[in-house]
Symmetry: C2
Subunit: 272 residues, 2 copies
Amino acid sequence: VKLWIDGGIRPDRQASISTQDRGLLLGDGLFETIRVAAGAAAHLARHLARLRMGAGVLGIPVPMDQAALGDALGRVIAANALSEGSLRLTLTRGSAARGVLPPEVVTPTLMITASHGGAASGGATVVTASITRRNEQSPLSRIKSLNYLDSILARREAASHGADEAILLNTHGAVAEASCANLLVLADGGLVTPRIEDGALGGVVRACLIEQGAVRERHLLPDDLREAEALFLCNSLGVRAVLRLDGRPVPSRPDCLGRLRRMINATGHRPG
Amino acid sequence: VKLWIDGGIRPDRQASISTQDRGLLLGDGLFETIRVAAGAAAHLARHLARLRMGAGVLGIPVPMDQAALGDALGRVIAANALSEGSLRLTLTRGSAARGVLPPEVVTPTLMITASHGGAASGGATVVTASITRRNEQSPLSRIKSLNYLDSILARREAASHGADEAILLNTHGAVAEASCANLLVLADGGLVTPRIEDGALGGVVRACLIEQGAVRERHLLPDDLREAEALFLCNSLGVRAVLRLDGRPVPSRPDCLGRLRRMINATGHRPG
């Protein structure tokens, strides 16, 4: 496997990260997971726009412009002969001396890695996490930062119940999102998804579905999930149906799932 | 500078971290910052107990017992001829394939680095962060995890106002802690500090002062800080007075500061 690091392609065995990198020491950075389909990065412009937005929130300079980032991603795809799989772009604030406050001048770390093969696409069993809450009162809930421990804790809780995914509530008990996916809820015949202000990350596929009018945002409580006509999980790698929620079966709507997949695939390779 | 990594002492130029380390990719890990005074690690047993507690919350195995960890820390002190300064022990879940869910079998990364010189001990100007809230509803507020971005955001906000430190409120508006210190509040002639359940990290020096009866826990609101007879910041590296809070002067109590320093120094080298 070959990756992009320090401005060029390298074999992964020759690549490593400084022990002083703030991404490692303080979670001080961001990432994007980008689907590769038929050898091309899907929803590329949306991913790069979200990266730049998050970098703005954290005050991390993005060391390349969008064209150069797209080129680097393409070089990782080519170097790995990647047809179906994913890329992960990680941007950290780079190395610095000890301390919480970032230095005035930073040299960010930008790394792009590749994985072959798609994500799980079969139906998922899901539990509502009780161990932690997603903090919708932090700007971090709106960017794809490296601070993923709340999701990891929720996912470990789900796994301890034999479930595939966890749903996180926010600090007020509203539904926010799953540990690594947005939630789509079929209610009253229409698809809705938790609001950004309720702690949902602005997922790339979620945004694409909202823009097409297929999904709209709504404040959702746990009861809304229990009464849903169907539930789906979507992230950059795909859409899955939820089969069971907290041990209870969820109605199946393969027609709806099929329609979502067609919409996402149809738009993935348009610019924007 | 020499550090401990992969089970032994190495020059820092020969040390690096895998690009697949979950500490880097997902903030999946913990750390401790330990003061070194007169060539010895202060409050060592407390730091190692907190590390083990946090590792339990995250389900990361600690790869060495307390005696071996103490020995490794001592070897980093010796290798760097460190008399006054600090050690940082970082424990991550190690390298793994893509995904939020940790693998069944992990090989944790354990790294110990050294810094010469103490922390700032002069008075600090402080502002109350408005950009984010500390999530007291997450178990992460009670462990010293690598997810430090809320503190970084708060600290950047303080710096943008020319201040040295930021105070974080919790999701209910109560006072939690500063970006890298606990807060001590002189009120009605006694010292109080925000409660763990309000989002304060269980600081090692904080615990030591509580155990000695010098400080007690209390639910504190921003108004309590404004009306305080004095304010102090304490962390493993020392205690400082707060000079100004949100632009307003805070009363000075050098007698109280001196007493706190004597108590902390007197107990730092006892086991426990």
